[in-house]
Symmetry: C2
Subunit: 238 residues, 2 copies
Amino acid sequence: MPIEMMIRKLRSHSEIPDEDLGALRAIIAPVKNLAAEEPIVREGDLSTQCCVILSGFAYRSKVSENGKRQILSFHIAGDMPDLQGLAIKRMDHDLTTLSKAKVGYINHDLLEHTLKTRPALERALWRETLTDAALFRQWIVSLGTRSASGRMAYLIAELRHRLDAMGLVVNEQFDFPITQSKLADALGLSVVHVNRVLQAFRNQGILDFRRQVVTLRDLEKIVELGGFDSLEDDTNPT
Amino acid sequence: MPIEMMIRKLRSHSEIPDEDLGALRAIIAPVKNLAAEEPIVREGDLSTQCCVILSGFAYRSKVSENGKRQILSFHIAGDMPDLQGLAIKRMDHDLTTLSKAKVGYINHDLLEHTLKTRPALERALWRETLTDAALFRQWIVSLGTRSASGRMAYLIAELRHRLDAMGLVVNEQFDFPITQSKLADALGLSVVHVNRVLQAFRNQGILDFRRQVVTLRDLEKIVELGGFDSLEDDTNPT
DNA sequence: CGATATATTGACAGGAGTCAAAGAGGGTGG
DNA sequence: CCACCCTCTTTGACTCCTGTCAATATATCG
């Protein structure tokens, strides 16, 4: 059951009583199947629920006054990309499916009611929004200090790491149904240049990105180019 | 009393019972006066307390494997820049004073104890970390979509907006004790180019940045160049 | 008042953007 | 099952924004 992906992720950084998890499971509304490129919430909306990605991909984005769109993050199974809406109702960015996706919804009122008697769960959700912020920080470092190929490598390394944690990397290969144009929006590059970087990677036997599938041919090199640091994963308290 | 700055900030986005605020005030440890460029916490440290900036400036930063330092954010009176440490103990970045600063400290254990019976306060703090994340997102947009001058303008506009909320802008003029080299680290630019942008702004009568003081000569132009949007400030719930 | 940090300049290089056109792929409707 | 269309990818030529290097001028501070 794909809801377990979210549970797994929460558990990876927080200790949560089983009954809290049970209570959480109980309020997840029936899954919805969304097509690719469907908006989940839009900038300016007031959230009344938050979602859980159960399969597929989603991304958060924001358009700047000059008309350019910046993709802020990609989300995979197990993620709750608009969890912050629970505490800050007005969305400051868009959330859209990247591919076909299964999504579960949790009504804010129900969730609040559940959290009222479950401090450990609330804290786990808080922590979830904080790891989110940590990813944003990494992203800032990437945009601010790395070259085009470094950014690309970082993106791939980070994504691989998260997908791997969900068991979605097989044989150093994973699905990533995205266009070069969207990659460009994420990396702050032009489409043309994204294409060039990708080709260079391909020619150098670093990675292959074809037909929505990424094949990592030299993971070490990617991690090195992107300066990716897996964050140790020991962010736990105690 | 400068602790009121923090209270004011919390109140600006959350409703908090007076007695919760009283409890919070009660556990803020005596203020410490720090010199410029003193580390408050470092990447890798395990937080046991969080701080409140009472006066002066601080910044968060991270060095990427290639040796470049990226400044993630600047913090001013009223900010709690390492609040996230309460839920995620291991720091993933540095926090340093930019100028001389007065800082108050709140012990994590005391804070946890206080929060245990004060859900509204806990939620306010959560929200505080989320507005932080929202600033990071804006920053990503800035780095990803704007030119050098756009980024600079955005930085100034955003800072002005936050300082103004704390009453620290007088006559469209405010202190900002920073070197061009650090500006470069924040904006992902080279020092030389920062200098050129600043001179261009000066010559065009947009702003003056001399001796640690920013004088805004054409705020509209700055906001326009930076595409700054004050966020409406109506992020409140209900 | 010298010493060190910061700001400023100028010359030059290069990474990444832009523009425009040509291929490829993948749907889909007949 | 194939032709056609539309989107996405790829190329090439050229531009330009921003970085690098190196020297000089200005602050700042003990």
